[in-house]
């Protein structure tokens, strides 16, 4: 029985039929009049009684670079799943700007409206060159018909070169993505998100498994990208978080435990008790 129900799990996510909801494809609709890009309010997600997210409230401002830390199972990845449409919360609301309700949209629609996600494990299109990876990710018509006739314009080519420069992979552009080093794959994945001109980048553990130099480069990359767009980084590496973040949010058991600068966080007695004090080495 459980296997059977698993098979149809997808139905849950597919409840919203695109034919019945208004077409959202224009980016001008994002209303940033209050300066806040992402609103998550009272989000609760439970798996068989276990509350992965428990009345989570989180606000991300326009142009902000926010780090989210928390022990395993604190709900960091679940939060990203909710924002990107992979999971529907049991209750709560999620809005992009003032008007766009993310909970009504599918993953592809959410991506279209300007939220990009980098996975924990670098996920690039291994069979294709770096250039092709970026080409396929270009912000363009995603329909089957358009893809059959697609030809790359000069403008798009320039855009790809531009992103290649930002992520520092110009020299590798003809290489097959599968042969890149771990760090390069991470940067390519950031490039894949970047080329879609997102408003919000969700980045899951970008420096896991990176060398010190690679970590430094990634920190530079992410700080340079913030401002124009908002970035949310989930990370375990405290040094890294310290080097990039203005404001850090600590998640614990599915809700926000503390929020503030790195120093404020480290001095917070609640945080000391549940997180920094227990396992992580603090500096």
């Amino acid at each position: 029985m459980s296997r059977f129900s698993k098979m149809f799990e997808g139905w849950r996510g597919e409840r919203q039929w695109s034919a019945f909801s208004p077409e959202i494809n224009s980016r001008e609709f994002i209303d940033l009049s209050h300066g806040t890009l992402l609103y998550l309010e009272n989000i609760t997600v439970s798996f068989d009684g276990f509350k992965a997210l428990d009345k989570l409230n989180l606000y991300i401002d326009k142009g902000e670079l926010r780090c989210i830390i928390g022990a395993n199972g604190a709900g960091k990845t679940t939060m990203m799943d909710v924002v990107t449409g992979k999971l529907r919360p049991d209750s709560g609301t999620a809005f992009l700007g003032q008007t766009i309700n993310l909970l009504n949209m599918s993953e592809s629609e959410i991506s279209e409206v300007g939220i990009g996600r980098k996975f924990q494990k670098p996920t690039v299109l291994e069979n294709f060159s770096v250039f092709d990876n970026l080409e396929l990710s270009l912000h363009s018509d995603r329909s089957v018909k358009a893809s059959l006739l697609a030809r790359l314009t000069g403008e798009q080519r320039d855009r790809i070169e531009e992103v290649l420069e930002i992520i520092g992979l110009q020299a590798e552009k003809e290489r097959t993505a599968g042969n890149l080093s771990h760090g390069q794959k991470q940067w390519l994945e950031i490039g894949i998100l970047l080329i879609q001109d997102p408003y919000l980048l969700l980045v899951d553990e970008p420096v896991a498994g990176m060398t010190v130099q690679e970590t430094e480069r990634t920190a530079e990359l992410l700080t340079s990208l913030a401002g124009e767009r908002s970035i949310v980084v989930v990370e375990h590496d405290m040094e890294f978080v310290r080097s990039i973040a203005n404001i850090v949010t600590v998640l614990h058991q599915g809700s926000v435990l503390a929020e503030g600068t790195m120093n404020e966080i480290q001095d917070d007695p609640k945080v000391k008790e549940v997180y920094l004090g227990s396992s992580e080495t603090s500096s």
């Binding site: 990009g116 996920t123 893809s147």
Partner: protein, 370 residues
């Protein structure tokens, strides 16, 4: 001139495809010429039996091409392609049946023999129009395509993938087999459709008709190959391959994965339908046995042995395995299925990229040494 450059562009970097098309073109000349113009007494004569046999192989090759498009390029392991093939075959069968006219055993000008036998008095509505060749051919593609669309749309929307999808498709072809076995369905039940006389006015039994059928099948195979290659090289093809390798990445980039999967699946079913329609005039019969689940599994084996996601590998696999089958079943029929199973295990363990992959790896090694 434009079409010529189109072909050259499509085959760029596809050595295997160029060789394949060259061989197919040669075959399209050699087989009919040596069959019709060389006297039977000559050692170079190719018998009509061989022409028919290889014509059948070409149809299987087309079917393998269809499966490779779905499985090799999009990772949809369909164990139901036999159903699309058989449906296409029934489309052609119904046309050929209507062409018999009053030359049937019962001499009824309108009703096929089996309907007279069942005491039916009028032609069922779904047999209307099948006396028209064009209509019948459109239906031979449309019906498998529609089935694939409905099925694919439902399955891919609810994100049914992997083994589950394969099993459901296997069940689909089995269900269709049981349905077509029923006399009430109006497709000849157990015996299917047979005893065909002629196709667009030409007698099916003559050597000339068979030779022409062979050439037509060969040319269609080449055209479909070029079409598939074109599809695979387009942005659409690259998106489809990426969906195979990193489905959730593509979803988060913003592609509607289910639309792409449904499209390639429908395309694949259309080609399988064409293959089925071409197959029937060669064998002269279509019956529910074609829906047998085992057939669908065999198609997967052809593609696996030839080599996945190369297109020409699928064609090679289909022709080689079927040739082996013909030879083997003539000598030791009871051993064939074991041999096929063994071959499949061997290929999976030692040649994961199939014969084509094995040879290209070998070539690479040689080049490195040199």
């Amino acid at each position: 001139m434009r079409s010529k450059s189109f072909i050259i562009e499509t085959l760029q970097g596809d050595t295997g495809g160029r060789i394949l098309i060259a061989i197919l073109l040669c075959g399209c000349v050699v087989f009919p010429v040596f069959n019709l113009l060389v006297p039977q007494s000559s050692a170079f004569h190719i018998s009509t039996y061989l022409v028919t046999l290889f014509g059948k192989y070409l149809c299987f090759a087309l079917l393998a091409l269809a499966l490779d498009l779905a499985w090799g390029y999009c990772g949809i392991l369909s164990l139901g392609h036999g159903a699309f093939f058989a449906l296409g075959g029934y489309g052609m069968g119904m046309y050929l049946m209507r062409q018999i006219g009053d030359r049937g055993v019962y001499g009824d000008p309108l009703l096929p023999d089996f309907m007279v036998f069942l005491n039916w008095t009028e032609l069922p509505w779904y047999w209307y129009g099948f006396n028209n060749f064009g209509f019948a051919m459109v239906m031979a593609m449309f019906v498998p395509g529609l089935l694939a669309f409905v099925f694919g749309w439902l399955a891919f929307r609810s994100r049914v993938t992997g083994v589950y999808l394969s099993i459901i498709l296997q069940a689909l072809t089995y269900a269709l087999m049981l349905a077509f076995f029923r006399n009430e369905m109006g497709f000849g039940g157990n015996n299917g459709l047979t005893d065909f006389k002629d196709i667009i006015g030409f007698n099916l039994q003559t050597d000339e008709t068979r030779a022409v059928l062979f050439v037509v099948t060969g040319l269609i195979l080449i055209l479909v190959y070029l079409f598939c290659r074109h599809i695979v090289k387009s942005k659409f093809g690259r998106v489809v391959v990426s969906i195979r390798d990193a489905e959730s990445r593509m979803r988060f980039i913003g592609y509607k994965v289910e639309n792409y999967k449904t499209s390639i699946f429908v395309l694949s079913a259309l080609i399988a339908g064409i293959a089925g329609a071409l197959y029937v005039p060669f064998v002269g019969i279509i019956n529910p046995g074609e829906f047998e689940p085992l057939n669908s599994i065999e198609i997967v084996i052809w593609v696996a042995i030839g080599g996945r996601s190369t297109l020409y590998g699928a064609v090679l696999g289909a022709i080689l395995v079927n040739y082996a089958k013909t030879r083997f079943t003539a000598v030791m029929p009871e051993v064939w299925l074991f041999a096929l199973g063994g071959l499949f295990i061997f290929v999976t363990l030692f040649l994961p990229k199939g014969l084509v992959g094995f040879f290209s790896d070998l070539k690479e090694k040689m080049e490195k040494k040199a």
